[in-house]
């Protein structure tokens, strides 16, 4: 199996796993307890808190551990003061769905999938003091958003900025200007089950989960110690190098097959390639790659396991059913990329041959 779906989840970095494992066995204690068995876990959680804060330039006291990025996004959108709420059209569903429920205004994106800054400025003028949620980089296309410019626009309108940085860990440094930041553990090479919301010092937050004093009363519930430890460790590790070169190799192979590169003219995550093949459903390419031993994604799936038409590609004006996403990570090797290029070529070629032989569309 060649794993090219790091934007869905990354294999744990060995160092992160090593640091997490003792907290599943001998150091099983609850970090909130007051006895000796709590001390190791509590210290480990605080070390992870320091590491998360160091990664994103926040204060350890402002790091709130959650069950993952989805919960962190909900906590930000529901817990921060918001006379108005604005979100970009390409946000992750864990932002878009609560935003819709809260009556948010959706900010359009350019055909390259980047926030339309003029539209944002205009919408903010009508909604001074609004809470704006824009992701640091898109999970489907890899497009990196101009967070510094967004932050400047939000500041001049007197608003607050929440940044979902789930896809940045292990790939790019964190943005520097934000009021609240979502972090994911397993995407960065940690474990599933931990994320964090980091706040700017002094920012008020209404807790959404009550019943315990954990996380300074801002998020009740026993902390998932192993996952939190792995999250901190993963973010403290050096970012893998050479991903962009491998991605570009894959991109050349796809382009030779006639693929269109999504967000081609935007800055992109170094590990992400999203392409469309005209007339070829993304899910067919993904299924074909799977049978060749290559794990890829269409970028969005529904409950049944079918590919959901992508709201991201739709917002960019593209064909929401045509995308294939290949995302690389710390374990990806040049040899794997060569095999993946060959697999992509045989899958796409075979689909075209069959389409030619059986002109059987209804």
């Amino acid at each position: 199996m060649i794993y090219l779906d790091y934007n869905a989840t990354s294999p744990p970095r060995p160092a992160a796993l090593d640091r997490a494992l003792p907290f599943l066995t001998e150091h099983f204690g609850n970090p909130s307890s007051t006895h000796g068995m709590a001390r190791g876990p509590a210290a480990a959680v605080e070390r992870a808190r320091d590491e998360v804060a160091a990664w994103c330039g926040g204060r350890p006291a402002d790091v709130i551990f959650t069950s993952g990025a989805t919960e962190a996004n909900h906590l930000a959108l529901r817990g921060l003061p918001r006379p108005a709420l604005l979100v970009s059209a390409v946000e992750h569903p864990s932002v878009l769905a609560p935003a819709r429920a809260l009556g948010a205004c959706v900010v359009p994106v350019t055909p390259d999938g980047v926030v339309d800054m003029e539209a944002l400025a205009a919408l903010l003028r009508e909604r001074p003091g609004g809470l704006v949620s824009v992701m640091a980089a898109n999970n489907e296309t890899g497009a990196v958003q101009p967070i510094a410019a967004v932050a400047a626009a939000v500041r001049s309108a007197g608003g607050l900025l929440h940044v979902d940085a789930s896809q940045l860990g292990g790939r790019l440094p964190a943005p520097t200007d934000w009021d609240a930041l979502t972090v994911s553990g397993h995407k960065a090479g940690g474990l599933k089950g931990a994320g964090a919301l980091v706040l700017r010092p002094g920012l008020a937050l209404a807790p959404q989960q009550l019943g315990g004093s954990q996380e300074r009363g801002r998020r009740a519930g026993t902390v998932d110690v192993p996952a939190v430890v792995a999250l901190g460790c993963a973010l403290s590790l050096p970012t893998p190098t050479g991903l962009a070169a491998l991605r570009d190799r894959l991109q050349r192979a796809a382009t030779i097959l006639g693929a269109r590169v999504t967000s081609e003219h935007a800055p992109r995550l170094p590990n992400t390639l999203h392409v469309t093949f005209s007339g070829l459903p993304g899910e067919a390419v993904v299924a074909g790659l799977d049978l060749e031993g290559v794990c890829a994604s269409t970028g969005s799936a529904c409950a049944s396991g079918a590919s959901e038409p992508s709201h991201v590609i739709e917002a960019m004006g593209g064909d929401p059913a045509a995308g294939v996403r290949l995302s690389l990570g710390w374990k990806t090797t040049p040899e794997e990329i060569e095999v993946a290029c060959a697999a992509l070529s045989s899958v796409v070629t075979r689909h075209r041959e069959v389409a030619e032989e059986f002109s059987w569309n209804v």
Binding site: A287, A303, S304, A306
Partner: protein, 361 residues
Amino acid sequence: MSGGVDSSVTAGLLVEAGYEVIGVHMKLHAAPAVAAPEGSKTCCGLDDALDARRVADRLGIPFHVMDLQEAFQKAVIDDLVNTYIGGATPNPCIQCNGVLKFRVLLSRALALGAKKLATGHYARVTPEPALRTAVDTDKDQTYFLFPMTPKALEHTLFPLGGLSKGEVREHARRMGLTTAEKPESQEICFIPDQDHTGFIARSRPETSGAGEIVDEEGRVVGRHDGYWRFTVGQRRGLNVSLGRRVYVRRIEPATRRVVISGPDALWSSGIDAARWIWHERPSPDEVVQVRIRHQGGLLPARIGAGASSAITLLRDAWAIAPGQAVVVYRGDRVLGGAWIRSGTGARRASEPARVQRSEGM
């Protein structure tokens, strides 16, 4: 793999026979996001997709969901609505099984590099290639499958063709499949309440089907609120009391009239059918058997030469419904089939003065 017992066992038998099997589930319509209540007879919904996935996991085979909603909309749903509005009685099962599965799904399967598409249909394919009836004739589904082309047959496996339903459930239990005791899927899976009239009204709110019910002399004897409520031979829902048994004889979409008559006028001695698909064309002299409804009896017939392939029935048939299929058999082999335009010819024993020679449509 629909998530039902038949396709589950199909996959299991192929795994046991040593095939490299890929499970595929067709997503055909937008399922509600929540699971259906226990015991409800759905097909192709979220629960079915999850059941299919569990079976695939149990069998240790890869599993993929294919989103064929667009093709299903065109081939099955639009066809159903258009056929009813055209005054005929559609057969969505033929469109789904014969057309969607063995054209669209088959080409997607071949594109994945598969050599064959296997399904849980009760039918058999022999090497000629020929489509043949299932050994369990009560379960035979060849009526739905006649649009399969010879090329499709070459790429098809029906592992259940030699089994009874009881044996299939037995295999499912033996293999430990969660779908072993699942109920049969319902008739029109995308209309959960089976209210096709309401479905058409919702699909085409701009189209009104209300009109008159007339007898054969053209006298208005009643009114109806949508002619697509009716099919040839139907008695229920007419709500006219003429002191005799009357049936729908003909539907005239242009005038939205439903023409009724006594039972005698519904007999036909021939069939006018169109859009023929032949696997092997019989000679005009050969006595073949034809079937005009799913699980209906076989009628001896001859097929005329010429493009129209006019069918002469050697035994009269009652209530031949436009829009349904006529499928031609020689013994257990399907020779071909077509979509019925109308019954032709009067009952040989009836009074010629009362019944026109050709109804036409």
